[in-house]
Amino acid sequence: MAATKIYVPRETSAVSVGADEVAVAIAREAKKSGVRIELIRNGSWGASWLEPLVEVEVDGVRIAYANVTPDDVAGLFAAGLGGEHDKRLGPVNEIPYLINQDRWTFWRCGLTDPLSLEDFGLHQGFKALEKAFADGPQAILDAVTASGLRGRGGAGFPTGIKWQTVADTEGDQKYIACNADEGDSGTFSDRLLMEGDPLGLIESMAIAGFAVGASRGYIYLRSEYPLTHRILTRALELAREGGWLGEDILGSGFGFDIELHLGAGSYVCGEETAMLESLEGKKGIVRYKPPLPAHEGLFGKPTVVNNVVTLASVPNIVNLGGERYAGMGVNRSKGTLAFQLAGNIRRGGLVEKAFGVTVRELIDEYGGGTASGRPIKAVQIGGPLGAYLPAEQLDTPLDYEAFTEIGAMIGHGGIVVFDDTADMAQQARFAMEFCAIESCGKCTPCRIGSTRGVEVIDKMVAGDSRDENYDLLVELCDTMEDASLCAMGGMTPYPVRSVLKHFAEDFASSGGKQ
């Protein structure tokens, strides 16, 4: 009898709640009971609330068990692998949370062993790169432009225009710089992709390089992701061993390789020009624009700077056509976004859906409401620079322009839920405090304004001339928004203003500095 395949994710969230210990217990129990198994460390499907999510393959169907602990393992074997158990959910491909998604970019995550070239090849791995070689660079640029894909890091700039600009710019050397400095709280889609489908990202970067004429790529990975670093390092080795990176890939005449760089704990380095400075070994200080990185980027050369998810959306655009991608979504927000349900939510995790879905649908239908069971008070979308939406704004469709209209932004798609115990004055204070901690210091509104913002909020909370300080805070927000060099200082006012607008009463009732 063939060995029974058992899947235990190697991904950070799963491991953070015991997946490694479960894997060890499974190997031990198999040995003890003499059952032949093949243990596969897959990526995560993104249903984080079910982690560690163990799957047992029976007759080609993967049976899922949720929240498995090492203590459960003996029972799983005793029930017969795949058999009845309190934690048995049934086939993984029947879990509503997963099947009711539009998995365009994350389709391999969870399905495959991320560190197996063979498994990657069985799941269309490198097919898009081969097609790119056959179709030629301009066909790829046209497909990306036709797809309507926009930068998923937060700014939403059209990817096709960026790529075409770099392709059209003269340069003896061009670069692909992948921004994997995923610093926004409530976001983990880059990490999930890199841990679940690192070879897919490598393929995406090679396609980008081929399309624009760049022979070198960089991945700038934040240092808070050590496990991701190990997985990516191994994936890059595998790709080189397989001849998918290096000189003259597949005899195409095109050569491309990728260097993996670590950040060093700086939020601003997620801003593209600060990231380029850091990649050059310098302080992560924001550059003035223009020149745009597409003209003068890394080491002064034309550079495509794209977020992980943006790049990883491309292989299917190449395989299936840009029009197919553009057929999803609404208005100018085409395709899908990997939303991340986080914070006080019962079923947290990644949900890749076409644009147009409302915040409430995501939170209620996928997230199942708050983890605490209490009513929702506020939802922060788009990371620390995103607005706090009150419950009455949750029917807003997720569409870049619809969010701009209500003074909010989708950003990198993180959705952080707070229940009615949240002290919103403290959340406004934190926005300013975080900006003060992370400001690169180049421009005054951000560097000084954020510290003054904390002081003003402290006075309001203390009841010191609350009305005058309210006006002062609004004025300070205006200055930061209008005069800061980048989004750090320019958008810190978003969460602050949203608290002033929707939760002003919290300044009177706040418990003060915590």
């Binding site: 969230s13 953070s16 302080k283 839920v417 949240a422």
Partner: protein
């Protein structure tokens, strides 16, 4: 505990990175990974080896949170302070950590250094902490205590 790094150790790391000044951030990461912190003499040495000014190197060391200029304890415990963890009680967890460890942020007590971190990307399993480069999720006060207890036992 405040010893510097042997010049040879710095030279080894610099040569692993081909002596390239544009890899300064990566070189400093390697120093912190292997040595725990960046001593003053390392800054001088790096400036010399990479043909940079000491001010350049100091500026980079000073800019990034990861580049500690004080030696940490044997173990480093980081507690996420960002919004998703706040929504799940990280403020209370932080207060508990201060009390149980007897240390504020950036302080070391009984060989454990406590530090803040702004997002570990484990936002659907909040609150999250990191101990010696390993992320732990769904951490309440009692889980925190048992994880720290595990550190003490492992020495």
């Amino acid at each position: 505990m405040r010893q510097g790094i042997e010049p040879e150790a710095i030279n080894t790391i610099v040569s692993e990175f081909g002596g390239k000044p544009e890899l300064l951030v990566q070189i400093l990461q390697a120093i912190v990974t292997r040595h725990g912190w960046v001593p003053e003499d390392a800054i001088r040495r790096l400036a010399f080896e990479l043909n940079l000014s000491r001010a350049d190197v100091y500026g980079v060391v000073n800019y990034y949170h990861d580049f500690r200029t004080e030696p940490p304890g044997k173990h480093i415990v980081k507690i996420c302070q960002a919004e998703a963890c706040q929504a799940m009680g990280s403020r209370a967890l932080t207060a508990h950590a201060h009390e149980s460890l007897g240390a504020s942020f950036h302080e070391t007590s009984d060989d454990v250094t406590l530090e803040p971190v702004y997002c570990l990307g484990n936002c659907a399993c909040a609150p999250a902490i990191m101990i010696d480069n390993k992320t732990h999720g769904r951490v309440d006060a009692s889980r925190f205590d048992s994880l720290v207890e595990g550190l003490r036992e492992s020495g």
